[in-house]
């Protein structure tokens, strides 16, 4: 039998990408034309009298407009939080606090479909992810921390955990509701009150969370949600009556926050950028490793701080892994985020798309070889094809800087020592992935990896009971799990 050279063989996947549309109905999503600030249990018009629009990044259509809080609005929210803290929340028995948190979790479950649609409309992420990951995981965080509220003496044996007071929380646009849950749930469980500022491009699910909080009858002022851009966040960070800043976002802003709070006794937890290394050894289950790489970099359009944006492949399996990766990329469906079959939705904003496209240009200028899947992109909205770069050097900017998009930089390696050194050779240290069939190698490597989370034969796995956080410029403090309580208590 004649055998052809394997490099001429190619599988075709066009029909796998061209399924009949299966859009989720928008009717589940009730979005008001205008949202005010949620302060002291009520939606209040901003003192700034200003509003800004939030758009659907997949269509560039306006969804709603939200209030732009100025320093006076921030002050009003902080005063409300302080009053609620002093008069109600810190005095309330812990098991009563827990009931409110449980109630939030349950209402969120009941309204999951509505929240999933709004999250997808406002942020551009595929409905499959908001439905199966964002919303259920957010509800789980509330459930999990509700359980801790009256068990803090077991969380911190022989110590007494006292709340800090008012927490100022600033969250990013990549997982809007989930990040709100990560921040609010442990703060409430430990007896703090909250002023939360969602990102300016994705404020809607946080504002709908305010509706849940009203429905759950949480005492007014315990959670306040204010919207705005960087200036609003700065006003919150600089407010003198804040006891704690919890921030998730870019390393640049994280550094500004540290400057701002230096010399005060505000506590902080910072969860910042990342440039995670995903490492495939030649004895790894390759197909599952490739799936993990796909999940690691293309989940949520790559807008994930712990995204596996660097891939190291052992040279003996390099070609095979690249081939499998390219085949798998061909089957990714890019397009309407509301379609249930969409794997990769819209880039969150035009600004972010420009950043990503600029890195694509840089990668090509640096001599790396770019490969994109052959999918078609919608004409409107902000979209980016799934992209991998091969022929990448450690000194390339695309291998060093966080791109925060569906862009993977791939390098080969030869020995264990070499890959540990290269994987750790980054200012970041949020996460890493190791793919090998050999258990002892996993233990050896994970203990040498300077990263807060190391996944073995999996990637991007989250659970409320598991702590998450970084090394080096990826920030400090842990969120989730028992560790997530520590950031919100004084131990006496």
């Amino acid at each position: 039998m004649a055998t052809r050279k394997s490099n001429t063989l190619k599988l075709k996947f066009d029909s796998a990408r061209n399924l009949s549309p299966a859009p989720e109905s928008k009717s589940a999503a009730k979005i008001e034309p205008r949202y005010d600030l949620f302060i002291n249990g009520k939606f209040e018009k901003p003192l700034s009298k200003k509003y800004f629009s939030t758009i659907n990044p997949a269509t560039e259509e306006k969804l709603s407009e939200v209030a732009d809080a100025n320093a006076a609005d921030v002050n009003k929210a902080v005063v409300a939080a302080r009053t609620a803290y002093d008069k109600v929340w810190k005095k309330m028995p812990a098991k009563e606090r827990a009931k409110y948190i449980y109630r939030i979790a349950r209402i969120m479950q009941e309204r999951a479909r509505e929240f999933a649609v709004v999250e997808t409309l406002d942020g551009g992420k595929p409905i499959r992810e908001s439905r199966d990951f964002d919303i259920p995981t957010a509800a789980n965080h509330f459930f999990y921390y509700a359980g801790w509220a009256d068990k803090l003496e077991y969380a911190f044996p022989n110590r007494t955990a006292k709340p800090l007071g008012v927490a100022g929380q600033i969250i990013p646009w990549n997982f809007p509701l989930l990040m709100a849950a990560w921040k609010i749930a442990p703060a409430l469980a430990t007896g703090n009150t909250v002023v939360l500022k969602p990102a300016e491009t994705t404020p809607l699910t946080a504002l709908k969370l305010a509706e849940i909080i009203q429905e759950a009858d949480l005492p007014p002022g315990v959670v306040n949600i204010i919207t705005g851009a960087g200036a609003t966040g700065a006003a919150l960070v600089n407010h003198p009556d804040i006891n704690k800043i919890a921030f998730t976002g870019s390393t640049a802003v994280g550094k500004m926050i540290q400057h701002a709070i230096a010399g005060t006794n505000k506590k902080a937890t910072l969860e910042l950028g990342g440039k995670a290394a995903n490492i495939i050894f030649d004895d790894a289950p390759l197909d599952q490793a490739v799936e993990g790489v796909i999940n690691g970099i293309f989940f949520n359009q790559g807008h994930v701080c712990c995204a596996g944006s660097r891939l190291y492949v052992q040279e003996s399996v390099f070609k095979e892994v690249i081939r499998k990766l390219k085949d798998r990329m061909e089957t990714l469906i890019v397009g309407d985020p509301l379609d249930k079959n969409t794997d990769i939705g819209a880039i969150n904003s035009r600004q972010q798309l420009d950043i990503i496209n600029n890195y694509l240009k840089i990668g090509k200028q640096e001599g790396a070889e770019m490969y994109q899947s052959s999918c078609n992109l919608p004409r409107k909205g902000f979209f980016c094809k799934p992209t991998i770069f091969t022929n990448v050097a450690q000194s390339n900017r695309i291998a060093q800087e966080e791109i925060f998009g569906p862009v993977l930089a791939i390098q080969s390696f030869r020995t264990d020592d070499e890959v540990i050194e290269k994987a750790n050779n980054t200012p970041f240290g949020l996460s890493a992935g190791i793919w090998t069939d050999k258990g002892s190698k996993i233990f050896n490597l994970s203990s040498k990896m300077r990263a807060g989370v190391v996944w073995a034969n999996s990637f991007n796995k989250f659970d409320p009971s598991s702590p998450f956080g970084g090394y080096k410029e990826s920030g400090y403090g842990r969120e989730g799990g028992l560790h997530g309580l520590s950031g919100y208590v004084n131990l006496v």
Binding site: K12, A16, Q288, E291, R323, T331, K340
Partner: protein, 303 residues
């Protein structure tokens, strides 16, 4: 007949991560198949069925009825395809062949002391030759699972190669009976052995052992086929059998096939469903797509 000069070390077959492969398989079930895609998929699935009867109580009459069904799935719905093949015991091949005539529907016969495979090789070969001599277009053999599990890979390899030779021009389906192999690693290894030994199809199950076909097992086998294709340039067909009785599940399998092996495999030369009750469920769904309402099961013939 040696398919390739480079026979690999089968103990070095790739490893499979159980959690990962099951997660990937479940991801295919998240695809939402609607409208045109659904109708085309259902018709394609019908056309991929090996309509099967493998009972001790099979008779000529039963097989003839099944053959009529294969050609006339549901005449109330014009334009339906036929199934791909009828799958019977060797003793029924002649009857099936006569009943199907030159319709294009193939006759597949199980052989090699199906389903256990616990017989000497010369009997297995005679079984095979008997089926082929009676007109079988395809032979579904079982591997010697006992030998495989005791590590005698050469025995299994040689047996498959010998049966392939006995098949002549009939296409050979090699049943791994994955429900008896115990792990995905073993499924992968058995797939590699079968393909290198000359299988035209690899097939999950006899249908006599539970679990029969599952999506993760089929995924492991499809990935083995893909890797074999890239290494040798030779295409191998796939047949999950047993346990696929609902249209929705059949559509999930097709999604999986389409995303692992691509368009070239999306026809009944390269993919089959071994099933007896799947056809009627698909017919019911097709009628529902056309009329908007479900019809009673009594409207669909049982054979």
């Amino acid at each position: 007949m040696i398919v390739t000069k480079n026979i690999p070390d089968f103990t070095a077959s790739p490893h499979i991560d159980q959690v990962g492969v099951e997660e990937r398989a479940s991801r295919f079930t998240k695809r939402s198949i609607k409208n045109e895609t659904k109708i085309n998929g259902l018709k394609l699935a019908l056309n991929m069925i090996d309509l099967t009867t493998l009972e001790g109580k099979d008779t000529d009459g039963k097989v003839k009825q099944l053959c009529y069904k294969a050609l006339h799935l549901h005449d109330a719905y014009p334009g339906l395809p036929t199934v791909a093949a009828i799958c019977v015991y060797p003793s029924m091949v002649k009857v099936a062949k006569q009943a199907l005539g030159d319709s294009g529907v193939k006759v597949a016969s199980v052989a090699t002391a199906f389903p256990s495979g616990q017989a000497p090789r010369d009997i297995k070969l005679r079984d095979t030759k008997f089926a082929v001599a009676n007109g079988a277009d395809e032979v579904d053999m079982v591997i010697s699972r006992g030998k495989f599990l005791s590590g005698e890979y050469n025995f299994v390899f040689d047996e498959i190669a010998a049966v392939k030779e006995a098949c002549g021009s009939a296409r050979l389906k090699v049943i791994l009976e994955t429900g008896e192999l115990g792990s995905y690693d073993k499924v992968r290894r058995a797939s590699d052995i079968a393909m290198y030994a000359g299988a035209d199809f690899i097939k999950t199950s006899t249908g006599k052992i539970s679990p029969a076909a599952t999506m993760p097992v089929t995924l492991v086998m499809l990935e083995a086929i893909r890797d074999f294709y890239y290494k040798t340039g030779k295409r191998i067909a796939m047949k999950p059998a047993g346990g696929i009785s609902k249209s929705k599940l059949a559509l999930h399998y097709l999604v999986m096939l389409n995303e692992v092996l691509g368009e070239a495999w999306m026809n009944n030369e390269w993919f089959r469903f071994g099933a007896s009750s799947l056809a009627n469920d698909i017919l019911m769904q097709l009628m529902k797509q056309r009329t908007g309402v479900y019809q009673s099961a009594n409207y669909f013939s049982i054979d």
